[in-house]
Subunit: 313 residues, 2 copies
């Protein structure tokens, strides 16, 4: 069975893994990103790790956060890795390793990883959403990752779901990310908490300092019956349902795949999403779309490797 | 050159045309729809016209408003042609004519007609929007009409652009159609008129009875400097820009194609759309998307014929 190496560059850590064609992880490791040291330093360290994996053959897929130009193997625009735009990632890494390298948006990698590993390629048209600090996404159309005109497709997190709406990190208002990204969820929680502290006693106990609040606290508080936490997930799920409904109406997918850490909220998030999707008057496309959640922390890394294999075919 | 026949069933009239592969109209006619007489009556009259066109060979494409099941050749759901759901259009018409027949959503037909005739198939990924009483749409992906899981793809008019929002004919609130469908545009105009009649004197003169107002009056009034009409197009274009931006972010198309009667509003509508699209922080997909307007009243009929040819390949 063919193998490949996937690299997922996050804001804090770089994950590396060796995968086979089915997405099984054969080997894995991680490094601190040290983004302040610049892209050249990053590529050198990644090449060092991969160079030491002498038993793993195959191409390399590199997943980066931002607007990736897959043809040139560069980042065109990235809010989180400032100064990295334009750096020739593909060229530099492939020269160092003497292997084929592809560069891809990290959410596209995660969706492709989920498509192969969670869905076993059994779906045809998939809308994938990645929930984390930001909200990303990717589309699988006719069993292939869809890139669009410039490789920018799948920016689901910045579709508008409210007008006027909450401020988003991108500079716009009302984006799905402003409600369903970690910072949006936490903002909703702080607001509801300050309005109705009596209903948020469990949450208060779990996280006495609201500045340190994370979605994980909200999941645990919801499990323990906290009213505020419950309402936060309701609101988050409702806004996600608006964004996902828009995609179902346009793309008529067979599967909606929700990936990422927040999906650990499980039914607290899934129930209001399903509720929102079930209230649509135009039934057929909603009846056809199965909602799946997958909390695989390696999906991005695995997907990067699998996309490298796909390009190498 | 191969030929086909296109049929576009509207609420009032049925248009029929013979087209060649390039979408040139060789022959055309129209009939009143008489929707109250039921689908069997309609199919019989359509078959009669086509039967008399003895010199036109080729398959037949039938465009219907609603959720079409292209595999079965039926309507699954249709708000405007009540009681027609389930009727075997494809089977009945192909038996009568002894020709291949395909059944397709009317907006998909119009988008495909625009793709072949206006864009000459030179685009790869197109988001098409049809503006009329309702707002419909269709997607061209990799040069082919995209159907999705159940043939329901492209329901752009019912994507949500405001929350809460104006009431839509579908039963939901905040749909794009509630702002950019004829009834939505006219509702906006009546509201602005009642708030600020002094700025709507030209409009008042052109259409003294606001119950009879149409988008055409608003285009004419805007041309003649009417303040209310101008603001109506601004608002309509702004809401269209929200809906279209969402699609650009997700689908990263090379072309946005706006079709239908309202597109006659020309720059009054196009300027605020372009303005809205230009304000997006995430530039690449917007820079890649060309906005085109096409006011071809036969696009649906032509596209139905062309899709029949496509299926017959």
């Amino acid at each position: 069975m063919k193998t490949a190496i996937g690299v997922d560059v996050g804001g804090t850590n770089i994950k590396l893994c060796a995968v086979n064609e089915k997405g099984r992880v054969l080997k894995e490791t991680s490094l601190p990103t040290q983004s302040g040291e610049g892209p050249e330093h990053l590529v050198a360290r990644v090449a060092e790790v991969i160079g030491a994996w002498k038993d793993v053959r195959g191409p390399v897929g590199l997943g980066l956060a931002g607007d990736v130009d897959p043809d040139r193997g560069t980042l065109r625009f990235t809010p989180n890795l400032r100064g990295w735009a334009g750096f020739p990632f593909q060229k530099t890494l492939s020269r160092k390793l003497r292997r084929p390298v592809i560069v891809e948006n990290d959410a596209n990698c995660a969706v492709w990883g989920g498509y192969v590993v969670e869905l076993k390629r059994k779906a045809t048209n998939v809308v994938g959403v990645t929930l984390g600090t930001g909200v990303g996404g990717g589309l699988v159309v006719q069993g292939k990752l869809y890139h669009g005109a410039t490789g920018s497709a799948g920016e689901i997190g910045h579709t508008k779901v409210a007008d006027p709406g909450e401020k988003c990190n991108c500079g716009n208002e009302g984006c799905l990310e402003a409600y369903a990204g970690n910072y949006g969820i936490v903002r909703t929680a702080r607001r509801l908490m300050s309005k109705d502290p009596d209903n948020g006693r469990v949450l208060q106990e779990l996280c006495p300092n609201m500045d340190l609040l994370t979605p994980k606290h909200l999941t645990e508080a919801a499990e323990r019956g906290d009213g505020v936490a419950h309402r936060v997930w309701q609101h988050t799920g409702r806004m996600l349902a608006i964004g996902l409904s828009n995609l179902v109406l346009v793309l008529n997918p067979d599967t909606l795949l929700i990936l990422g850490g927040v999906s650990q909220a499980g039914r607290w998030l899934l129930d209001p999403i399903r509720d929102g999707l079930s209230k649509q008057p135009f039934r057929t496309p909603f009846a056809a779309a199965t909602v799946r959640m997958a909390a695989n922390p390696n999906a991005g890394c695995v997907g990067a490797g699998l996309l490298a294999l796909e390009a190498d075919r």
